[in-house]
């Protein structure tokens, strides 16, 4: 199963990021999210919404590169972080091909999508239907 993003439906409202931070940290803080939507533009040029979402890669470079085995694949194919084992070396954030592993100045471990126990809050809350689950 994978979370899929449709940029044509997205409005860039970041409700997904907010619910992510609320579900995981009980915090009102879109920068504590495990996914990110940015509106990208160039002067006179195109404007579009870009997503940074864990693709649950089959080869999961983040797991491979972790020196302390803090990252484990969970039963949904996404990643759980063992915060006790994590030493905050940030190697995983560097290898992620989708830039979908996030750092927060106040949190000493990487923020990676864990699929919310099978029912991702971002998908459930997206008012535009831009996020969906496939597979």
């Amino acid at each position: 199963m994978r979370i899929v993003f449709n940029p044509l439906l997205c409005s860039g409202c970041k409700i997904c990021q907010q619910v992510c931070s609320i579900v995981h940290f009980n915090s009102q803080n879109p920068t504590k999210a495990r996914l990110k939507i940015n509106t990208i533009f160039k002067p006179k040029g195109v404007v579009y919404h870009k997503s940074y979402i864990c693709m649950a890669c089959s080869d999961a470079l983040c797991i491979q590169v972790c020196p302390t085995d803090a990252l484990k694949r969970n039963r949904f194919g996404y990643i759980d972080v063992d915060v006790e084992k994590c030493i905050a070396c940030w190697e995983c954030t560097k290898v992620c091909p989708y830039n979908a592993i996030f750092m927060h100045p106040e949190i000493r471990y990487p923020l990676i999508c864990d699929f919310c126990g099978g029912d991702p809050a971002c998908v459930k809350w997206c008012p535009m239907g831009a996020l969906s689950i496939r597979g």
Binding site: S11, C13, K14, Q18, F41
Partner: protein, 619 residues
């Protein structure tokens, strides 16, 4: 902080000394002024010396969020930008969306006060840790959208921005601040004050939590509001057209400003309407932070190879008001105005006024550099826009706004200079709508529809109705739009466009802050803010008279020649009667000055004392 919602601090930045400090906000301020516009007017009243020159060192820029800004509820991505206006010399504020409001709050502050003046162009980079004063010489002179792009290359995309373009740099009196690809705010010249302080941009990058009193309750009420909004029958229509559907609506109801407000219907309205925009041009939806009903229409203009963000006001002012029935041209003009950082509404007014003044002989060919501007003449209009942005030739006069232009041109030019108190009128031509005219006349920043988009209610009540009840409705609308939403500093559109009940907001306020306020209590705060804003205007002007709350003579004397309401104008006596009702309901005297007991009722005793000290007689 013992309450949720507020961060409890304000950041004071002095550009002259390049120092900054954080100040605690008193509980008195929070519970009596709530935030946003409430904070803005309180700081301006307390801290500006009377009759401060808006472009001097002493003027201040206030950026203020409210307790509901940046929070998980519909339309929370709003920020109030305020200052003493160089356009009106009175209180000026604007409301800007996007990610800047949230970013400011996540820096641990509810607002920013900018003081002093930099000697060289600078921009501010604000994080929870520090404020950096950065050299802006490399971006000075560049367009606002271009600058946004350059700054994002350095700081990434997780930032909020407020940027001025060449308009603000060159002190165009109606320059605005721009964020995120053409969202503008601060019509009464906030960008001009940025420019006078050599402040090119403010960039905020925050990451702190915003405290919430009761998160479960907030999530619950937000779930219900989003479901409510999405289930409204006109939701899909709204998301496809946003405010652009108003073009057709205004045409139907004969309030579409056309040819500098001479007519109120436009034969080519379909070419600039919401229908054609959504079918032929729109390529993307764009929402502010936390908004489930995005109104941003990004259009792709293939003819000119550019993208632009459209909404009704801009399109009507550049389209019908300048006689341009061509979506490509209007989008291009809109893009140029955003890039220059000039208010599209005032610019549409100023150019319309210039064209009419030229045709009537107030401006000769020599004065306008050999141009022969006419309605519908896109190339000349673009040239005039450039002249305004760089204050070249007649652009130097045009950059002063229609009020000062009319003073300079003399004669009867003032009769068709479409402004109130110096701020140009927005896109509702009100020859046949005295209630809407009154809404413009009594708006606390000069002619703007933000406080009371009364036209929709007036059509229901009846345009001809002249009654106290009608004016009571107008005051109610000001209390909600200009008071409630401006002090919470969130978007009014879920309420006005899709009918979200106000009681939801009471619930949101309680969930976020932990304070239980009834609507009546909030309206009282809203009235306090209105009275203080009015007192500010009076203090700055040194007097007040009914004439200052009057719309331009065109609405009384120049009947439109076409459309279902041709030949109709507002009767002066009727307007005067409505204005008297308004003053009565507000507790102001016959000259529009708050009565002493009114000020005391709202806890503004000191304000009364200061007004009296300034030589104002209070009744």
């Amino acid at each position: 902080m013992k309450y949720g919602g507020w961060m409890g601090k304000i950041l004071r930045i002095n550009l002259s000394s390049k120092r900054y400090r954080y100040e605690d906000l008193s509980e008195h301020l929070l519970v009596n002024y709530i935030g946003g516009r409430g904070f803005a007017i309180k700081f301006l009243w307390d801290e500006l010396k009377p009759k401060t020159d808006p472009l001097s060192l002493e003027n201040k820029i206030i950026l203020a969020t409210g307790p509901l800004s940046g929070v998980f509820l519909p339309g929370s991505g709003k920020l109030v930008v305020a200052t003493k206006s160089p356009l009106t010399n009175g209180y000026g504020d604007g409301n800007i969306g996007g990610y800047i409001s949230t970013s400011i709050k996540m820096c641990g502050i509810d607002g920013i006060i900018v003081e002093g003046k930099a000697d060289k162009p600078i921009y501010l980079y604000i994080t929870p840790d520090e404020v950096e004063f950065k050299n802006a010489e490399y971006i000075w002179g560049r367009g606002a959208i271009e600058t946004d792009y350059i700054l994002r290359k350095d700081y990434g995309n997780d930032i909020g921005t407020l940027i001025i373009g060449p308009g603000g740099e060159n002190l165009v009196k109606y320059a605005v601040v721009i964020t995120e690809y053409g969202r503008a705010g601060g019509r009464p010249g906030i960008g001009c004050v940025f420019g006078s302080k050599k402040l090119k941009a403010i960039v905020a990058k925050g990451w702190l939590d915003i405290p919430i009193a009761d998160m479960d309750r907030l999530v619950d009420v937000t779930r219900r509001t989003i479901d409510f909004l999405k289930n409204q029958p006109n939701y899909d229509y709204w998301v496809s057209q946003g405010t652009m559907a108003t073009v057709e609506w205004s045409q139907k109801n004969a309030v579409l400003p056309t040819y500098n407000f001479q007519e109120n219907v436009f034969e080519e309205y379909k070419n600039i309407g919401g229908e054609i925009m959504s079918k032929m041009y729109k390529v993307m939806r764009k929402a502010c932070f936390s908004c489930p009903m995005p109104c941003g229409n990004i259009v792709n203009v293939k003819k000119y190879r550019l993208w632009s963000e459209l909404d009704y006001e801009n399109v009507a002012m550049f389209g019908s008001n300048l006689g341009i029935g061509d979506m490509d041209a209007v989008s291009q003009l809109n893009y140029i105005a955003d890039e220059y950082g000039i208010d599209a509404i005032s610019l549409g007014n100023v150019i319309g006024f210039t064209i009419e003044a030229f045709k009537k002989g107030y401006i000769d060919k020599k004065m306008i550099g050999g141009l022969e501007p006419d309605f519908g003449d896109v190339d000349t209009i673009i040239e005039l826009t450039r002249m305004v942005a760089y204050r070249r030739g007649i652009g130097d006069l045009m950059a002063e706004g229609t009020m000062r232009m009319a003073e300079k041109l003399g004669g009867d030019a003032y009769k068709f200079a479409m402004h109130i108190k110096g701020l140009e009128i927005t896109a509702y031509n009100s020859h046949s709508a005295p209630g809407m005219a009154l809404a413009f006349g009594t708006s606390p920043i000069g002619a703007h529809h933000k406080d009371a988009w009364f036209i929709a209610w007036e059509l229901k009540i009846g345009r001809d109705v002249v009654s106290r009840e009608k004016v009571e409705k107008l005051v109610l609308m000001q209390r909600i739009r200009g008071g409630l939403f401006e002090m919470f500093t969130i978007c009014r559109l879920p309420w006005i466009e899709l009918g979200l009940d106000l009681n939801y907001y009471v619930e949101m306020f309680e969930a976020v802050t932990g304070l239980k306020y009834s609507l009546e209590k909030m309206f009282k705060i809203s009235d306090r803010i209105y009275n203080l804003i009015r007192a500010f205007w009076i203090r700055e002007y040194g007097y007040w008279s009914r004439g200052l709350d009057y719309p331009p003579d065109r609405w009384f004397e120049h009947p439109p020649k076409t459309g279902p309401y041709k030949g109709i104008t507002i009767n002066r006596e009727i307007y005067d009667k409505l204005l008297s009702y308004y003053y009565e309901i507000r507790g102001w005297d016959e000259n529009g000055i708050p009565r002493k007991d009114t000020l005391i009722k709202y806890g503004l005793e000191n304000v009364a004392l200061e007004l009296e000290k300034c030589g104002i007689k209070l009744k």
